[in-house]
Symmetry: C3
Subunit: 203 residues, 3 copies
Amino acid sequence: MLQMLFYVAIAVEAMTAALAAGRRKMDWFGVCLLACVTALGGGTMRDTFLGHYPLYWVGNPYILLLVCGAALFTIAIARVVDKLRWTFLVLDALGLVVLTIVGCNVAMEVDAHPLIVIVSGMVTGIVGGILRDVLCNDVPLVFRSELYATVSIVTAAVYYFGVAADLNRDIVIIVAIAVGFPLRILALVKKWEMPKFVYDKDL
Amino acid sequence: MLQMLFYVAIAVEAMTAALAAGRRKMDWFGVCLLACVTALGGGTMRDTFLGHYPLYWVGNPYILLLVCGAALFTIAIARVVDKLRWTFLVLDALGLVVLTIVGCNVAMEVDAHPLIVIVSGMVTGIVGGILRDVLCNDVPLVFRSELYATVSIVTAAVYYFGVAADLNRDIVIIVAIAVGFPLRILALVKKWEMPKFVYDKDL
Amino acid sequence: MLQMLFYVAIAVEAMTAALAAGRRKMDWFGVCLLACVTALGGGTMRDTFLGHYPLYWVGNPYILLLVCGAALFTIAIARVVDKLRWTFLVLDALGLVVLTIVGCNVAMEVDAHPLIVIVSGMVTGIVGGILRDVLCNDVPLVFRSELYATVSIVTAAVYYFGVAADLNRDIVIIVAIAVGFPLRILALVKKWEMPKFVYDKDL
């Protein structure tokens, strides 16, 4: 089931990237490339940090076709996408939580330190979106919008401690999703934000 | 011969990076650094993705001197560069094709999946230019200009299938160049572009 | 002693990143993330280039807490930071030199080529600031401001040749700091810059 959700998460990241590409009037190739960077960038950075080779998409290259397929599908349905705003936000929230859990799993496989497990989950969850924003020449949204990375950290912590407590893995996955997913949705609905740090002097 | 063309390709990438640096009024060090990132970034990312150590410029560090030399030479000839516009574009087209072939070779050495061979060629060919544009604070050109990445993909595909069909390696190299190079030149002359995806709503 | 200075250097990089984050009105999480990327990005890139696993912060994850602590501390003292301008610049200069030496050490441990030792020192010293500027959507300062990377290169060269000449390691460290640190301070005070390359035509 986690595997299925993982593919959904990857596809959703690809679709949000395609929309960002469309806002920058990129060509179809640029849409696919931005989708790959966004959907696969987090896992790639995690695998690189952990020295975990082969990278997951190098070991399973068909995932590239899934990503490009999802991106091109987004072009096809662009006219109706704005009616799907909430579908996207809900799937994106689910994707964030699922990618985080997958990232924790990879770090736990290599017996990483608990802090690294949580960082690994977070990197998997949020780095794709950061790379997307950098390539679109924006300051990454995750640095200042509604709770997003925080959701990833909370999910990773719940998941890590559940697994460390030797609970049934499937139950821990469900609990982690049941904590992280509604937290993100609530953050969106209630516009929960972290406090901002505003500093306007030059050093 | 491929090795010679590879050095030419690296030097040309360094020179186009130097011009981009000049447009941003960077200092001489910035020119060299941007040239290194542009000329070596694609191969570095490919080697990192494949876990192919040592990175090629770590194993052959004199290539750094070649890159910095080409960058500083560009500063010296800056006055006449605009008369060399087509020389640059032609050499850049050749460089794209050559770097792609080199990238495919590295992936084939480690017995990668065909899709990964093509991605490896493309990453080697286009990532340097993307990093250059990000460091210059532009949306990467490759996402929306004339056929560029597509040329890289076509070249990589021709090369891969030629080698897979067990043809003579030198002939396959020549055929891949003979397909990719004129394709890029034609794309420049005729202003061939991929269709654009334009989406102007916020999600 | 180098280890202590290294932690100071990391903390100072984190604090300058926090101020940059404040100028972009990032939230507290964004402040911590930007601090991690800035303080640890150079060493991460060096370790990745050298294939030197585990990455130093993966092997010693408490450094993440140091970085986040320094970043949050900066938020707490933001009101008085502008009175500390020179403290920051002095500590940042010290940090640059120390990180460079640490970077050289890592490359020498794996018996890298002298050129790679110097590049390794420089990457460790300056890449964090480049990543910070890219994430803040600026053209990296290091490409065009007062001598900064040059200081790193000079320090690395002094250190490398000292160690290669088989001098006492502690003395070489002190000499390298005694060369690089005042050089950076002088560059700041006297506004020493590299010559700029200005090119204003499109290719």
